[in-house]
Amino acid sequence: MRVTGTGKPAIVVDGLVKHFGDVQALKGVSFEVPRGTVLGLLGPNGAGKTTAVRILTTILQPTAGRAQINGFDVVASPRDVRRSIGLAGQYAAVDENLTGRENLVLVGRLNHLSKAAAGARAIELLDQFHLSDAANRPARTYSGGMRRRLDLGAALVTHPPVLLLDEPTTGLDPASRQDLWEVIGGLVADGTTVLLTTQYLEEADRLADRIIVIDQGVIAAEGTAAELKARLGETTVVLGFADAASAASAVAVLAKHAATILPADDKGLTMPLRGGPTTVRDALNALDHAGLSPTRIDLHEPTLDDVFLSLTGATA
């Protein structure tokens, strides 16, 4: 049974300001997250992402502005907010000396589940997160990926309607990251509202319905992944050739296909990947007809560095 407020958005943040002494971590941030959707909060270290999450979890008091979760104000009704959220963070806040099962039971008990309910829920979560075999081992013996899964499990003990994930995959290997993404995807499919902070464009792209780019305490851009990418630059294909003459001929051949072919250097060229994979096929076919064959092909995705350079002109 989930604690529900009114029919308002699951998360409402309005003019949030947070000062730490002279440092302005948040300088007036506003956004809303409709129920059952995922908002990605994207930004470099020190952008204010974690500060925003800590205010939403009632751990930190805002200097000004207001924030509501599930219809409850974080300052006026912190207990109701805490009942509405699950928090999983970049530190994998599990107790290393407790077993996986004990960690989950403890969180269940502290959420005021009965002993039986906390025990049953722990078994259920261990199973869902593929930790059953390690259930009775101290968490200090777990791998990084297992700890994150346990941490996420702990956030889900009471089926919270709102999940706050602070850089959930930072420091994980690619396989564990994929694994965690699938788990989060499953939760979202089941109707959970998620606010996710990340430094990885790919992660936001994969999980988030909408993305807010935050930099130095202000929102630098917001939109869907597609909208942002259109603003941030596009995926390009880089083709390399054996010599400068071939590269020049290739530019001439491809100019008929796409308008914006740019010589990348004297032996290569860059073309936008607007039509998806078929663009590459058509380009390679055209080159083949002209008797040209590239020696190298690279895809160039816009990176977070590109994002910040283009959005803020700041030192990313």
């Binding site: 049974m1 989930r2 529900t4 129920r35 059952g36 800590r54 979890t57 009632t58 751990i59 207990r79 805490r82 009942r83 959220i85 928090l87 963070g89 970049q90 530190y91 994998a92 806040a93 599990v94 107790d95 290393e96 000396n97 407790l98 004990e102 403890l106 969180v107 269940g108 008990r109 502290l110 959420n111 005021h112 589940l113 009965s114 309910a117 049953a120 829920r121 259920e124 869902q128 101290p138 702990a154 889900l156 003990v157 009471t158 089926h159 309607p161 699938e182 788990v183 995807g185 499953g186 939760l187 499919a189 089941d190 109707g191």
Partner: protein, 278 residues
């Protein structure tokens, strides 16, 4: 909020099958239950890392051997054999250093992000500190009983009865409990276990060593005597000596209880306030 149409098997796996409904309850009752849950957690940790408990015994044992056999011959205490005078001081020292664990434990939980998670839960705001202090107090009982056995092994003898010795142990435990609240404040103010240890020692040293725990303050310079006679470690050592060695007891016990309760009553709300505003 009930779940909407489940479209794939992965979503089904995350649909609540166990309602996991929080139980209703009254605020004070929850504070007690949350505190006990945290106490259980901290005691489990102590059990899982037995080396810590071993070191907790080794350190005061070294002090016993050093003062009993190295310095003891040069120290004379009117009216007592030195080992009888020394051991109550050692017990108090053991409890004082045991309270250091409160600072280290909290600082480590803070450093590892565990406090962030706990603070995001709908649990009692005093339970994290209460559970820490209770667990460390329980641990102190265990260590004090062991030190009592070690004392007997090196020649210490109580001159009263079992009830009075038990009262002495109670004095020690109450004293450790009170000091734990001081160290809780220190633990919450630093960012990791090493820093907690470094910050706590300068507080502990003047309390434990500039006291009557090991020597008679009568031989200290006058300004130091004033401190050494009127501070909680000396008060606790006096009370424990009275309980275990005999002589006028009630007044000394009352002074030590007043110190311990005073410290706990003043500092526990301050520490909880600090926890809430981390």
């Amino acid at each position: 909020m009930t779940s909407t149409t489940v479209t794939d098997s992965r979503a089904a796996a995350f649909r609540p099958t166990n309602p996991a409904v929080p139980m209703p309850g009254d605020g004070a009752l929850w504070a007690v239950r949350d505190t006990l849950a945290m106490t259980w957690r901290n005691l489990t940790t102590i059990r899982r890392v037995p080396q810590l408990l071993v070191f907790a015994i080794v350190q005061p044992t070294i002090f016993v051997l050093m003062f009993r056999y190295v310095f003891g011959g040069s120290i004379s205490i009117p009216g007592h054999s030195y080992v009888d005078y020394l051991m109550p001081g050692i017990f108090v020292q053991t409890c004082a250093f045991g309270a250091l664990n409160t600072a280290i434990g909290l600082a480590e939980d803070k450093g590892k992000g565990l406090l962030e998670r706990l603070r995001s839960l709908p649990m009692s705001r005093s339970a994290v500190l209460g559970g820490r202090v209770l667990a460390d107090t329980t641990r102190n009982v265990f260590v004090v009983v062991l030190m009592l056995a070690i004392g007997y092994a090196v020649g210490f003898r109580a001159h009263t009865n079992v009830v009075m010795v038990a009262l002495g142990v109670l004095m020690l435990v109450l004293f450790g409990f009170a000091l734990s609240w001081i160290f809780a404040l220190i633990g919450l103010s630093v960012s990791n276990g090493e820093a907690a240890q470094a910050a706590a020692f300068p507080m502990l040293a003047p309390l434990v060593f500039a006291s009557n725990a090991f020597v008679d303050p009568a031989k200290m310079p006058g300004w130091l005597q004033a401190w050494a006679r009127h501070q909680p470690v000396s008060a606790a050592a006096d009370a424990v000596r009275a309980c275990m060695l005999g002589g006028p007891t009630a007044h000394k016990v009352l002074i030590s209880v007043a110190w311990s309760l005073g410290i706990a009553i003043v500092l526990s709300p301050v520490a909880v306030r600090r926890y809430r505003r981390l």
